[in-house]
Amino acid sequence: MHYRIEVAPLPNQVDARGKAVVHQAETFLGTGIRQVTTRDVYSLFADINDEQAERIAAEFTNPVIQQYAMGSSSTYSFDWLIMVGYLPGVTDNVARTAHDAIRDIIGRPLRPHEAVFSSVEYLVSAPAVKRQEIERIAEELLANRLIQSIDVRSAEDVASNGIPVNRPEFVAVGECAIETIDLDVTDGALQRISDSRTLALSLGEMKAIQGYFLEVASDPGRIALGLGAQPTDAELEAIAQTWSEHCKHKIFDAIIDYEDDAGKQERIDSCFKSFIRKSTEEIGKEIPWLRSVFVDNAGVIGFNDKVDLVYKVETHNSPSALDPYGGAMTGIVGVNRDPLGTGMGANLLINVWGYCLASPFTGTDEVPEGLLHPRRIRDGVHQGVIEGGNQSGIPYGYGWEFFEPRYLGKPLVFCGTVGLLPRTLGDKPGHAKSIQPGDLIVMAGGRIGKDGIHGATFSSEELHAESPAQAVQIGDPITQKKLADFTIEARDKILYRFITDNGAGGLSSSIGEMATQCGGCDLDLAKAPLKYQGLRPWEILVSESQERMSYAVPPECIAEFRALAARREVEVTVLGTFTDSGYFHIRHGDATVVYVKLDFLHDGYPRLQLKAKWQPPVHEEPEIPHEEDVDDLLRRMIGRLNVCSGEKKARQYDHEVKGLSVIKPFVGVANDVSSDATLFMVEPLSKEGIILSYGIQPRYSDIDTYHMTASVIDLALRRIIAVGGKLGHIAALDNFCWPDPVQSEKTMDGEYKLAQLVRANQALYDYTRAFKLPCVSGKDSMKNDSTRGGRKISIPPTLLFSAVARMEDITKAVTIEAKRVGDLVYVIGDTHRELGGSELFAMLGAVGNDVPRVNAAQALITYEAISKAIEQGLCRSVHTPALGGLAIGFAKVAMGGRLGMEIDLAAIPRQGELEPVELLFSESNSRFIVTLSKVHKEAFEALLNEVPHACVGTTTYDNAITFYDGDSLETAVELEDLIDAYKLTLSEL
């Protein structure tokens, strides 16, 4: 029996969702919509009676603010009805919860043939608006056709034909057949096999696979299992997932012949091994707190004698380009599973996020056909991460946005998570894990569907018109929260020996990795719980359906493991056994679908051999504005997208849950100026804290990625120092997002882009080594190009450098804003004429050439001194300038404290001759602005005898920042103007 249940706000209640649509339609599309009312609709197909259905409706409804109707109510007047549901097979979280609720209400779960679906209906009053416009609103504001169904009906249509039934049931097509693929073909045909199946394998790789199967054709084991010389579809898919750029980092592992601008040549045997890992290994010999690096889902460092700290940042770029909401939600919920799957499983503590996007003000006609408007991407990405993070109960540590036109082709969506691992579990370290042959292969969490198939291989390609829609997934934070809570309980009872997450590549990846621990596996796909029938075995194997973890459970623990899972309403399935056969053995019932040697699966791919050639670019130098323009420049700059306040969106993310927040993302008298870094207690009421910071500056890449990298490392580090962190217990993560750096017909400048990658890595080695800042995990995403709409757009080489530090005593921390009138204002560190790639030059439409550099030796001395000053309680505020240099730096210190400042430009320490505008807007690294009480002047200066520094002014009651140059008054900038401009730009978005 079908029941349609409508739940709508009572007429006397605000329909917030409807109001939001009117507002968005106005600002985004400019159409004249009078009113929108909304309702939730549940389509219930169940063997229940009318009374039960009515009871369900009543209990779904909050009687104080909502009303329900059975069937279609006719009490509303409207011009258009927009119905938005989910496409068949797409995760419908509301329906899943409705399922749970119905069980409580009718006293039994829904049976397999029964179902409930959710949809939202928008009743639009807009008599003068045409169908086309309404459809546009539906498609651009309310739904994404990749995952949702949209049905627009006129009032007349509804009056005469009624409202159609929403029943997006997935109907299986095809059978569970196993296909074999003939690889005994020409090179061209081999490449076509890779392309048509979205395997993202090169010809060389296809030939390696061809060679392997030729070799094993006569393997008696293989023949006994009924397999021949031709690989099955599942074998090919498993190899492709395992060998994907996403999983194997082939470019970072490549052998590169690099030639610099002087013609000097060198051979680099893997950027990862030669620079990143090398630095960390060398530092590891000098520090005692590296626990586990580069071997697990995330890096593990020591924190105190109770817990270790786990940190990982990931990107989820391609899915977010297609479905910003679902892609980004999967990004945050997905990266949560990295710490959860690290060691024996970490408690999730803090999230971070950051997005590189094109301007939300981009003109519609500038967006290539087939790409979403950057404003829509921004709204969707935020919404996805907001819901994913908030519903998981994990506070965000910091969040940022960087806007640049070249992210139009591919947005970058960074999501990260800090976790805590118990130092010991039973008699073993919490970060250690192992698998014994005979342990059971167990999967827990969500079921498997077609969602996310080919995610790993798809993300290893550029975005093109045929990018597979099924690569998009929707996260289900509550299913994952149940899974995570269950996992921690099972961990504390030591019910498993090994855990890892199911991410890119699905079971193929997770079990493939786990199998290397003991030397083999035997897994039956027919046992896997499916969302719906009709999946081929290879699809089950590589599906990236979310919210799943894989475990190795000793047979003696499985009963207790299952019983706990049942009590927590987490589905667990035993899929097979770990072995020491040396083979990745996958069956579907009795039929073997994969039988591949583990060695070949993991190491059989041919390494890339690439060329890189560095030729420094030369850019035009802009004319430096006159000093009289400082007032105007500063007021304009503070409202620019990369400087202005992002508070409106940021406040929709929870940063206080867990009660640990000490320095918040926004600080100051009015809590409205972004802080340099954030600080959390490690547990409620603790004195020990965790500082998080980051550095990103992709515009410097346009001049030299070497100095870009040096600058972002310095920025992340000095932000830690600025809030009170100390050198010595700081770890870092590197996230490289690059345009395709492999020379080809599509990428004619591949050798240059690869040289940019080499130079970034060289700097990464040089500066992490100098700062003793080990990279403990990282990730790369190497094909961030788009050719949609016939236009190639490549992102600028982007490195997100994230840092995490232990703070001994949180009560010593400082924030950026000036605290008291009459305090002295100091500038620490020299300013050089370094405006290349700066915010000022970007504002002037130029790039320039003098990119900021980093003097690591001097920086270290400076950081030691600042740390001491903060620890001794000498500083009332500390801020480290970044974009916009000292000018924006002074502004933030003053705005945060709602205090004026008098600054003498002549006093600012410098190297070389600089014009006032250069002095104020140069982005030289390793500098600080400090305010302190006059009482501490001598003690402070005594600490700085080896560091360039000067007292440059005082804080005042004036409502302005006044810049002097020696004796002549230069200019005064009203604080209120600055604050307004700072907050205005993104205030409505």
Binding site: T97, G659, V662
Partner: protein, 270 residues
């Protein structure tokens, strides 16, 4: 019976403030225990061993079908009588954020005239239509029978919700809540200390600026802001300025709510 106050904190299904809520009760001298909802339902007799029951913050069942709806249904269909008995026994119940939403959905608040399990108030979507995390200032009603807010005047706390606008089924009920002093906490203007409808001081548009209410016994209390997120003085957004000005409190001011509950339970329930 032991002389420590025992607190049962219900967990599971997307709730997420169990650690800090437990820390709050522990710091107040009580002995908290986190119990998964399903384990509580499977053995509801255990409620007898506790003096305080805490409904914590989070997103039970993802807030799908409305905040607190599904969680409240599960409680109602499984342990309604036991919950009622707990209140009849003179014990204490606190609901914070999602817990407050659940208490109103269950009808454990406001329970005017002792009429439990009849929902008459609700936490509707915020007027701004979005989730918001920000610190607000609350003013406590000194006339309220609420046990939890005794001795509190102004209380800064963070709010973190998308559905926190307090509404009543009718004006008479609102008047009754006011008349019987069941409004325990209101959003106030931090400068004047006066109740306010002005955003962002009143972050969601709540009727009469109501942030928290109690039942007529004063023993059942619900509030949208998070006292368990202000246990440490260093949680406050302006703790450094407070330190410079010599007004940094010894402990986070949210702690007082839990101390009040534990003190009352020690005195009357053990």
């Amino acid at each position: 019976m032991s002389d420590t106050v025992r607190v049962l904190i219900i967990t599971g299904f997307g709730l997420n403030c169990e650690v800090e809520t437990a820390a709050a009760f522990r710091a107040a001298g009580a002995s908290p225990r986190q119990v998964h909802l399903n384990d509580l339902i499977a053995n509801s007799d255990q409620l007898r061993d506790y003096q305080i029951l805490a409904f914590i913050g989070g997103f039970s069942f993802g807030d799908h079908l409305g905040a607190g709806t599904v969680f409240a249904n599960r409680l109602k269909h499984n342990i309604r009588e036991e919950l009622h008995q707990f209140i009849k026994d003179g014990k204490l119940v606190i609901g914070i954020c999602n817990g407050f939403q659940t208490l109103t959905r269950l009808g454990l608040l406001p329970a005017i005239d002792g009429e439990y399990f009849v929902p008459r108030t609700a936490l509707a979507p915020n007027d701004q239509g979005v989730f918001r995390d920000a610190w607000v200032t609350l003013g406590a009603n000194p006339e309220s029978p609420c046990i939890f807010t005794r001795g509190i005047d102004l209380l800064p706390l963070p709010v973190r919700h998308g559905e926190g606008k307090f509404v009543t089924s009718d004006k008479e009920l609102l008047a009754a809540l006011e008349e019987r002093q069941l409004v325990a906490l209101r959003y106030v203007d931090p400068e004047t200390g006066q109740a306010t409808q002005e955003y962002p001081y009143n972050p969601n548009g709540s009727e009469n600026a109501i942030a928290g209410i109690c039942d007529e016994t004063g023993r059942v209390f619900g509030l949208m802001p998070h006292p368990e997120a202000y246990l440490s003085p260093y949680n406050h957004p302006h703790w450094q300025r407070q330190m410079i000005n010599g007004v940094l409190p010894e402990e986070g001011l949210g702690q007082k709510i839990f101390r009040n509950a534990v003190a009352y339970a020690e005195k009357t329930l053990i």
